[in-house]
């Protein structure tokens, strides 16, 4: 909730600035991702083969293929501007992908083309990081406990799974995107894409199990447009 609030504040501050100053006005696309139907029940993960991770949980953790919240909200959805915005240069900050308790944190990591990707292992066990891209280079590296973070980057936009072969329940996703206008829905399923100059955009929402949807939106001035996505839940 806190990052969302902060994002909201930042948006407000930015639009206030845009109105006051001569800087080009920035519009905002915000909305909520929900599902209809009955999603499959996520199975508890059996980590008994990896005691160092199993002991970190008092109750078994659930698989994160579909994570839902109150009010039918859907988490882990990548919402991004897929058309209409120019490609952005990669930011200098690294996107961090953590392995903790034999889970990926975050489950879905979005970052930009050529942005540094830092992969950290906080566990007391070896992991192998095996992303499975189709367009980018497919590599597979071992990361025993206590070794420095792996630094990588991807030069083509693509969304693909990443897995650890040693721990078959570990499954995540990388979303390599062309511009900086993206968000991954968290608790509550809402998202905000700020700082969009006036223009026509295609907004894409991607979910690892429910597929992707697109909507077109036109921004004029510093207005805030609401775009909501409703995914159809798969019962299995």
């Amino acid at each position: 909730m806190k990052p969302l609030l902060m994002a909201g504040v930042a948006t407000l501050a930015f639009s206030a600035l845009a109105v006051a100053g001569p800087t080009p006005a920035g519009g905002t696309v915000s909305g909520k991702v929900t599902y209809e139907g009955t999603p499959a029940k996520m199975k508890p993960i059996d980590m008994s083969k990896e005691p160092s991770c199993a002991k970190m949980y008092s109750t078994p953790v659930l698989a994160e293929t579909v994570v839902t919240g109150s009010g039918n909200s859907l988490e882990n959805v990548v919402v991004y501007v897929s058309a209409g915005a120019p490609d952005d240069p990669a930011p200098s900050t690294a996107a961090v992908f953590n392995q903790k308790g034999c889970r990926y944190i975050p489950h879905v990591l979005a970052f930009q083309v050529n942005q540094e990707l830092k992969i950290v292992n906080e566990d007391q066990t070896s992991h192998n990081i095996h992303p499975l891209p189709k367009l980018n280079r497919e590599w597979n590296k071992s990361q025993p406990p206590g070794t420095p973070p792996i630094s990588e980057k991807y030069d083509k936009a693509e969304i693909f799974p990443v897995k650890c072969n040693v721990h078959p329940w570990m499954h995540g996703n990388f979303a390599v995107l062309k511009n900086s206008h993206y968000a991954v829905t968290g608790d509550g399923g809402s998202f905000t894409l700020p700082n969009l100059p006036p223009g026509k955009y295609t907004i894409t929402a991607w979910h690892e199990s429910y597929g992707e949807q697109t909507q077109d939106v036109t921004i004029s001035g510093s207005e805030t447009k609401t775009v909501n996505f409703v995914f159809k839940a798969k019962p299995y």
């Binding site: 083969k49 066990t125 070896s126 192998n128 990081i129 095996h130 499975l132 189709k134 367009l135 280079r137 497919e138 590599w139 597979n140 590296k141 071992s142 990361q143 025993p144 070794t147 792996i150 693509e158 969304i159 693909f160 072969n165 040693v166 721990h167 078959p168 991607w206 429910y210 597929g211 992707e212």
Partner: protein, 328 residues
């Protein structure tokens, strides 16, 4: 003049029908390949995410131009019995008329035939994620890949294999947009010592090789049964107990190369960033002692210790020498 024309027509029609006969099977395979890939492809795959395949080359048309350079050999795709002809004679049955690993035999082949459109190769001298060198593919063609259906093509000439390398490269644009990686440097192998073997054993435990390969290297670790390759097909970890050859060669250098480059497209990761070269040699020496049916200097040294002798005795079935223990 008219007579000559007739004979030309007859001659060419004979050639054409022969060609049609020769090439009829790849065309049929193309249809079945399409059907199979349409079934296999998940509906939610975003468009454009899979590298495009190209249709098979119709008879009489030229193959895409391409060359390979292996030593002083230059491989070609076009020409009598050059890369294209050889591919559509020996390779397409498994690797597919489109080179996408979806050939007629593919459903019966495990692990699945290599997909040359994706251009991810197992046996490389280059770091994980990079294209192999042309020599790497050339060597794989000659050696074959044990525990898979890829046979050795040692019966072909070096020129044939160089031509095939040239043709395989034409299936993927990766060969145009990317450069093969720089081969990893392999320091000279140090002398085999007991310390080296023992340290290798420590590394085997520390790096958790046993999670897949099993505590005795029999390919039966706790994660072994869950492993899948990049095509989501089950794949078995290497079993050191049987034989002495590996998927990508049989020498100590080859073994060093396998875990320092990883076996791309499979669960086997690269350890290049996490072990030092001298440690890697220790691991090589230890892994040789797991191959208890292969008489190696490492095993001989290991068996000279009471600990090693007891281990080998306990691992050999019934403590009886069998045929496989006799080969040099």
């Amino acid at each position: 003049m008219r007579k000559l024309n007739y004979s030309l027509v007859i001659a060419s029609s004979v050639v054409l029908s022969c060609a049609a006969f020769l090439y009829s099977t790849p065309a049929a395979a193309q249809d079945s390949g399409q059907a199979a890939s349409a079934q296999a492809a998940p509906a939610e795959a975003p468009p454009g995410s899979v590298p495009a395949t190209r249709p098979p080359i119709p008879p009489g048309e030229r193959y895409p131009e391409g060359t390979s350079h292996i030593g002083n050999l230059t491989g070609h795709t076009n020409g009598q019995d050059a890369g294209g002809d050889l591919y559509y004679r020996y390779c397409w049955g498994c690797h597919g008329a489109r080179g996408d690993g979806n050939g007629e035999n593919a459903p019966y082949v495990t692990p699945t035939p290599r997909n040359f459109v994706a251009a991810v190769f197992k046996c490389r001298s280059t770091p994980t994620g990079y294209l192999p060198t042309e020599e790497d593919i050339f060597d794989t063609l000659k050696r074959g890949i044990i525990t898979s259906n890829m046979p050795s093509w040692a019966t072909l000439s070096d020129q044939n294999r160089a031509d095939l390398v040239a043709f395989i490269k034409t299936f993927s644009t990766r060969w145009e947009t990317e450069k093969p990686g720089t081969p990893i440097s392999i320091p000279p192998e140090p002398k085999v010592t007991l310390e080296s073997i023992k340290h290798g054993k420590v590394l085997f435990t520390k790096l958790e090789c046993w999670k897949c390969h099993g505590p005795q290297g029999r390919g039966d670790g706790p994660s072994a049964s869950t492993l899948t390759d990049s095509n989501d097909q089950p794949i078995r970890p290497y079993n050191f107990y049987t034989g002495y050859r590996f998927k990508c060669g049989s020498t100590n250098r080859d073994l060093y190369k396998i875990f320092m480059t990883g076996v791309d497209g499979t669960p086997m990761p690269s350890f290049a960033d996490v072990i030092k070269p001298e440690e890697a040699w220790d691991l090589v020496h230890y892994l040789r002692t797991l191959q208890i049916w292969h008489k190696s200097p490492e095993l001989a040294l290991w068996e000279s210790t009471p600990e090693g002798k007891a281990y080998v005795q306990s691992e050999k079935v019934m403590n009886v020498e069998t045929g496989s223990g006799i080969h040099p």
